[in-house]
Symmetry: C2
Subunit: 171 residues, 2 copies
DNA sequence: TATTGTTATACTCTATAACTATA
DNA sequence: TATAGTTATAGAGTATAACAATA
């Protein structure tokens, strides 16, 4: 097991019971299950899970402009334009002028959008809890803490790819 | 769905510090980070992470036919054909006749494919450990256990979507 | 000159349907 | 009739480049 280059001296062993790459395999399976479970809950919003996440972000995180919104959602600005168009068409959000920068648009929820989000959150929460049915409350809490830590680490380590900090500047 | 509304009486509360839907958001961010980290490690294999996972599955799980392989990877049989074509072209795997069923093909690794997998697994493991750098060894082990349980629950609850059991019949 | 957002285009990924050869 | 695999086609999703307005 002597390596000429890649492995650093203090490299850890694979996760117990996991083959190399299994972490991604399990994550992918869980995420697919999540999207499938969510699909039914978020059906009233255009753009599936993405549309729901956009509405949720707009209401709860109040990003200052579309760029901040797109960064948080992890989607390109060109994709975001079309997604927003759909939600505007459905009268769930609207574009308003950003106060500080006349180039930018701020996305806010309409009354109808805010009302719909409240309804959907009940169903989404139920769907997520059902997804976690195989774990105890303590285990679910544990998992939530671990993935919070992990995702925070990741977007700090990859500032270019996911500059989620931008969304934290409330406006 | 027995009720016309939604929330069952014993529904649990959202995860602490999570908005409804945040579970998927965090999972998505971690999975994107994982794919990004893996991309460099698995570059020699065609088809990116999918190609690596295919090679790993063929070597370590020895699925009886393409359908079992595709089920495990969570990809459609029509997509799988093209992916296998690429790996065959690169001389990493080959199609052989399945012993029990003349309609089916079994995918096995070539010597070159097995050799490459061994090399890549060192890098993949290093990449995954780097992704987990923000967690202690104990926390990483904890996380591995939790997502194993979760993914097992999920593909049991969705037998149609992910019949991974089919891959367990070694052959 | 750089940035925000839009639009048009092209590319990738995935799904649908039709076909063969076996069962 | 049903299933394993292939192929061709179509669709969704995403990225690239060019543009207008503003900083």
């Amino acid at each position: 097991m002597s390596t000429s280059r890649s492995t650093p001296p203090g490299a850890r062993q694979p996760l117990p019971g996991f083959l190399p790459g299994d972490l991604g395999w399990h994550l992918g399976m869980i995420l697919r299950g999540h999207q499938l479970a969510m699909a039914q809950s978020v059906a009233p919003v255009p753009g599936q899970v993405r549309g729901y996440q956009l509405l949720s972000t707009v209401v709860h995180r109040d990003p200052a402009n579309q760029q901040a919104l797109g960064s948080h959602l992890g989607i390109d600005r060109t994709v975001l334009t079309y997604l927003i168009d759909e939600l505007v068409e459905a009268n769930l959000v609207e574009r308003v002028a950003a106060p500080s920068d006349r180039r930018a648009r701020k996305i806010i929820a309409t009354a109808q959008g805010a009302r719909l989000l409240e309804e959907l959150e009940l169903k989404v929460n139920a769907a997520e809890q059902e997804l976690l049915a195989g774990l105890s409350d303590a285990q679910s809490t544990q998992l939530a803490g671990l993935i919070s830590t992990l995702s925070a680490t990741i977007h700090n380590a990859q500032p270019g790819a996911n500059p989620c900090e931008a969304v934290d500047q409330l406006g």
